[in-house]
Amino acid sequence: MSHDRGKLEAIFDRYSRQPESLIAVLQDIQKEYRYLPGPALLETAEALKVPLSKVFSVSTFYNAFSLTPKGETVVRICVGTTCHIRGAKVIQQQIENMLGIKAGETTPDMKFTIEVVACVGACAMAPVVAVNDQFHGGVTVAGLKRLVKKV
């Protein structure tokens, strides 16, 4: 972690250090560092006056948080019901094969992370793949190569 106290302080201040804002604070830290670094959790506990165990409990309960660093490009494969019945599994396997990692993992060079998400709410365009929050609908096995190449 490029430990930058100022960044964290700014996040804490944004929410007036309210204990209720724990999830929001962690979300902002996650956004800043692409994961939740251990030392940041300690500082969060201190700043919000929340027990460290609770900070850790919340960090591991919600999908939004990751305790390991994510890659520069996050490929999120929607596996919602509609995507599932329209072949999200095949898409997922193809992407996993192309990048050589499984869902939930990050390439050793820290370039890519694959995630699966249970519905991004673009079901009409199923199957959907989001690359760094940019949505791509109607993804096909044939079109996938182009998509990944572009990235």
């Binding site: 959790l41 027990p51 460290l52 165990s53 609770k54 900070v55 850790f56 409990s57 309960f61």
Partner: protein
């Protein structure tokens, strides 16, 4: 006062009391694994579920966790109906799939006729039943050193970052209250090891026996304003001292009476 019927017997309870407490007071045995007098009811183990109904519900009944259900006027409670027994059997069968080696679970399950799980044993299952007594009691003690980590089937009890917990004082509330005795600790004379941390045990200044951990003593004297010296003497020696004091007071009174 509220009047209700449990297993056909009319009983009385105070407004706001929970069914479990009333049932137990009246001698009806209800199993529970996540219930602890010192902490708020939780409703996680589901073993204390009972069937409830009322005359005006016209044959409809509901299944509720008695630990959390406040008594109601004219409630008709069945603590051992067929469905309730079936539910307890299922819950224990499921628990047994997760912790097949826990003597406590095995015994309780056997009481309900479940000697072996009928489900696929859970890989990596340990004896923790995730009742949450340890984490909740730790919070109640004011330390919140441990918590549940993760969610769903992968949930575990662990210290933050799965490292030695900084807020732990080694009070043993978690370990001693665990219904399946799954939280280990080692006391060897002058030190105590729990959750991967080593604590200094205070030696009684009178008899030399270990008392509580230095961290626990410091925390208690700080938060409960008890003088730190109090913890330098063990409970037994405290009692011995008190009896000596009481004795001398008695002597003094006798002298005064003369």
């Amino acid at each position: 006062m509220v009047e209700l019927t449990i297993n056909g017997r009319v009983v009385h309870a105070n407004e706001g009391e929970m069914l479990l407490a009333v049932c137990r007071r009246e001698g009806f045995r209800i199993p529970a694994l996540c219930h602890h007098e010192a902490i708020e009811p939780f409703g996680a183990c589901r073993l204390c579920m009972v069937e409830i109904t009322k005359k005006e519900w016209k044959g409809w009944s509901n299944y509720v966790t008695s630990c959390l259900y406040p008594v109601e006027k004219n409630l008709i409670v069945l603590t051992d109906s067929t469905k309730v027994i079936e539910l307890r059997k299922t819950v224990l069968d499921l628990q047994l799939a997760r912790c097949p080696n826990s003597p406590e679970i095995r015994q309780l399950a056997a009481e309900y006729g479940v000697n072996q799980t009928s489900y696929e044993p859970v890989v990596d299952g340990d004896n923790c039943i995730l009742c949450g007594i340890c984490t909740r009691i730790c919070e109640k003690m004011g330390f919140s050193a441990i918590s549940t980590v993760g969610r769903g089937h992968d949930k575990v009890v662990a210290p933050p970052l799965k490292e030695a917990p900084p807020d732990c004082v080694g009070c043993l509330a978690c370990s001693l209250n665990c219904p399946t005795h799954v939280i280990p600790y080692i006391d060897n004379g002058s030190t105590r090891i729990i959750w991967g941390r080593t604590f200094e045990l205070i030696k009684c200044s009178k008899c030399g026996k270990p008392t509580i951990t230095r961290d626990f003593a410091e925390s208690l004297s700080k938060t409960k304003s008890i003088p730190a010296e109090y913890f330098e003497v063990c409970d037994e020696c405290h009692r011995r001292e008190i009896s000596l004091t009481m004795g001398s007071i008695a002597n003094w009174e006798r002298e005064a009476a003369k």
